[in-house]
């Protein structure tokens, strides 16, 4: 045949496509697994595979621009003297100073505070700038205990015991030497410049029975003032949630496979854990079995939340709130096309860059290089994040009102339909136009 180019003659292998070949070449050159940031990039079942049914003849909607649709949430009212009260059901996930710049942490605090919600510390302790600019700050209690101290614990508005995270359930954190500056190293009691690999397991407890005692200790240290969260990577969410409740958690954070990280092995990011759409219904089922759902124990879902549609769907599946990490960094300016030339110099491009681990972030967010961190104005960054949170909230309310809900927490699975068999099975909602739920676990 004439007139046909390479695209007609060449056939790329599905099994060994160009990305796979490049990765094998990279591995053969370096002898070390690929470490990167961001979350899973592969196609997988997501909340996009669900749709809201909206009001119709049998249900009436609320006026979209006039009738109120509340968004507030209280966590820990049953046990904590100072429950955590947030104005919107969207929180900022734990991200460490070290992985992020101090300006980025401050910006997250400013943005969250402007919207009346919480931000969260991370591996490496509580940053003073973060505490100062976060009206509600959740203090993570991690296996590494880097920078962990009782003064910060007592200054927190809630404590989150981290068992795992969605990007790497069963794994510990990584912070490569390029980002372990003198300040970061000092907060973690480690030599500057080392490739710091955090513990994957807590040093002084194993299993839910121990965790129950650990939570008792934490409550005693802070005189039962603030709520205790338990965060798990989505692996076995039914059992993990039930065990967290048994251990005494006021909130369970379930972080799905799409959850981001500043650095871990690519093989971990893509191949461990289950998607958020599959995790939320299982965690909800555990809370319902224990008769604590929408009551004494709250469910916070995270992993790949991008829009108000995602927020509303997560709430409808049973979450009381969501947590965002990657989306919050994008709101600050991560992967901004304005820096495309610089991303290309790093061998990537705006929209593709995921090397948060290497300390060269052109947007000045995931770096400790003073030349780069100066690019992020924490006041402007905070304003951008607040705007983004505002949009997420308005979108969530739009869908909730359309379903006739005067509070976003009233969203329920009955408001949803699935577009694929996989989504129907995972979310436990019917395929659109049918009443069929594959593997139906509802009590009949």
């Amino acid at each position: 045949m004439s007139g046909t180019g390479d695209s007609w003659r060449l056939r790329e292998s599905y099994t060994f496509d160009r990305h796979v070949i490049a990765e094998i070449h990279r591995a053969a050159n370096t002898g070390v697994y690929r470490i990167r940031g961001w979350g899973a990039k592969r196609r997988m079942p997501t909340l996009d595979d669900l749709v809201f049914l909206g009001a119709s003849m049998s249900r009436y909607p609320l006026e979209g621009y006039r009738e109120s649709c509340e968004t507030d949430l209280v966590i820990g009212a049953e046990r904590a003297a100072r429950p955590l009260e947030i104005a919107i059901p969207i929180t900022i996930a734990g991200m460490s100073f070290g992985s992020l710049s101090a300006n980025a942490k401050e910006a997250l605090g400013r943005g969250a505070s402007a919207m009346g919600t919480s931000t969260t510390s991370g591996d490496g302790g509580m940053l003073p700038e973060e505490r100062e600019h976060s009206s509600k700050l959740i203090y993570q209690y991690l296996p590494s205990r880097y920078g962990q101290n009782p003064d910060d614990l007592r200054s927190a508005d809630a404590i989150e015991v981290v068992v795992g995270q969605g990007a790497k359930p069963g794994g510990g954190g990584i912070l490569l030497g390029q980002k372990v500056s003198e300040r970061v190293a000092g907060m973690r009691t480690l030599p500057a410049g080392i490739d710091q690999r955090s513990a994957c397991r807590h040093p002084d407890w194993t299993g839910p029975d121990d965790l129950q005692i650990k939570i008792q200790e934490l409550r005693e240290v802070v005189d039962w003032q603030v709520p205790i969260f338990v965060k798990v990577g989505a692996a076995r969410p039914f059992y993990d949630t039930a065990l967290a409740v048994k251990a005494g958690a006021d909130a369970v954070v379930v972080d799905g496979l799409q959850g981001g990280t500043a650095a871990t092995q690519d093989v971990f990011i893509e191949h461990a854990g289950i998607p958020t759409i599959a995790a939320i219904p299982e965690a909800t089922r555990a809370l319902q079995d224990l008769d604590v759902h929408r009551k004494s124990v709250k469910l916070i879902a995270s992993g790949g939340i991008r829009s108000g549609a995602d927020v509303a769907k997560a709430l409808a599946l049973g979450a009381d709130a969501v947590s965002i990490g990657t989306a919050a960094l994008i709101a600050l300016g991560d992967n901004d096309p304005a820096y495309d030339d610089e991303y290309r110099k790093l061998g990537s491009a705006a929209g593709f860059w995921d090397d948060l681990q290497d300390g060269t972030d052109p947007a000045g967010i995931a770096t400790q290089d003073p030349r780069l961190t100066a690019r992020l104005d924490p006041v402007i960054g905070g304003r951008r994040l607040a705007n983004y949170l505002q949009v997420l909230t308005m979108e969530t309310q739009t869908l909730a009102r359309a379903c006739g809900k005067s509070h976003v927490a009233n969203l329920e699975p009955e408001d949803l339909a699935a577009l694929t068999v996989e989504a129907a099975a995972m979310a436990q909602v019917p395929i659109a136009g049918t009443d069929w739920i594959p593997g139906d676990r509802r009590k009949r």
């Binding site: 053969a28 050159n29 370096t30 002898g31 070390v32 590494s144 205990r145 962990q148 101290n149 009782p150 003064d151 614990l153 490569l176 030497g177 973690r188 009691t189 480690l190 030599p191 410049g193 080392i194 490739d195 513990a199 040093p203 002084d204 407890w205 121990d210 005692i213 650990k214 008792q216 200790e217 005693e220 240290v221 802070v222 005189d223 039962w224």
Partner: protein, 240 residues
């Protein structure tokens, strides 16, 4: 107080855990700014005297459960008995001492202060320690000083297997046998400054031992950074 006056010793407040709740005990200790406390009948309770943040003295008569004196600051806690998991975990300053033995993870992640265990310590003693000094009169169990970052662990007896696995800059002094060293842990020279440090720790702990009888273990610094090859660079070099 006028010249020549001598301050009266603080009265000792006795709290009986057979009659008082753990919550009330810890609340009292957290509210105290000074003074001495005697705790009776702990009966293995967890989280006894955790979160102290004042220059107070607490004596506990009997054995305690998990996390006794956890996250301790400034004051002193003495346990006349044994302690379960996580004795003085994440201690920041001050002193914690027990007359008996401690089970797992004693002194875990401690950032400062002194922990003295007159008996033995179980597995993972000093795990992830970040500046605390720990002195153990007897033996320590396996995986002690795992990922130890800073501070000193002194063992007058023997150490179990995998001592100091993945250790950073902490120093481990052991008088007896070490069953095995963990990854990246090595035996190091005992220089004069180490002898002086060890002598000071033994004195502070009230332990009678000759510093010269100890060997020092620490990091080989072989795990501090990933080893990344670059075959392409070699190929380019050969190509000239």
């Amino acid at each position: 107080m006028g010249p020549g006056c001598v301050s009266a010793p603080d009265p000792v407040t006795t709290i009986d855990l057979a009659e008082t709740s753990l919550r009330d005990l810890n609340q009292k200790l957290h509210q105290a700014e000074r003074g001495s406390f005697r705790v009776l009948n702990p009966r293995g309770a967890h989280a006894v005297a955790c979160g102290i943040d004042a220059d107070i003295s607490v004596e506990i008569h009997g054995s305690v459960g998990y996390y006794c004196a956890g996250m301790h600051q400034k004051g002193s806690v003495y346990v006349d008995g044994n302690a379960s998991t996580g004795l003085a975990e994440n201690i920041m300053s001050g002193t914690v001492r027990i007359s008996g033995s401690a089970t797992m993870s004693a002194g875990a992640t401690g950032h400062g202060g002194l922990v003295v265990i007159e008996g033995n310590a179980g597995a993972r003693c000093g795990i992830s320690m970040k500046g605390v000094d720990i002195v153990v009169g007897g033996n320590v169990g396996h995986m002690s000083a795992f990922m130890a970052q800073a501070g000193n662990l002194v063992v007058l007896g023997d150490a179990g297997s995998d001592l100091g696995d993945s250790i950073y800059e902490a120093n481990l002094y052991v008088r007896g046998e070490v069953a095995s060293l963990g990854a990246d842990a090595i035996c190091k020279d005992m220089r004069p400054e180490h002898v002086r440090t060890l002598a000071g720790l033994l004195e502070a702990a009230g332990m009678e031992a000759d510093p010269n009888d100890f060997r020092r273990y620490g990091t080989a610094r072989g795990l501090y950074n990933f080893h990344i090859d670059d075959v392409n660079a070699e190929v380019a070099r050969r190509a000239g």
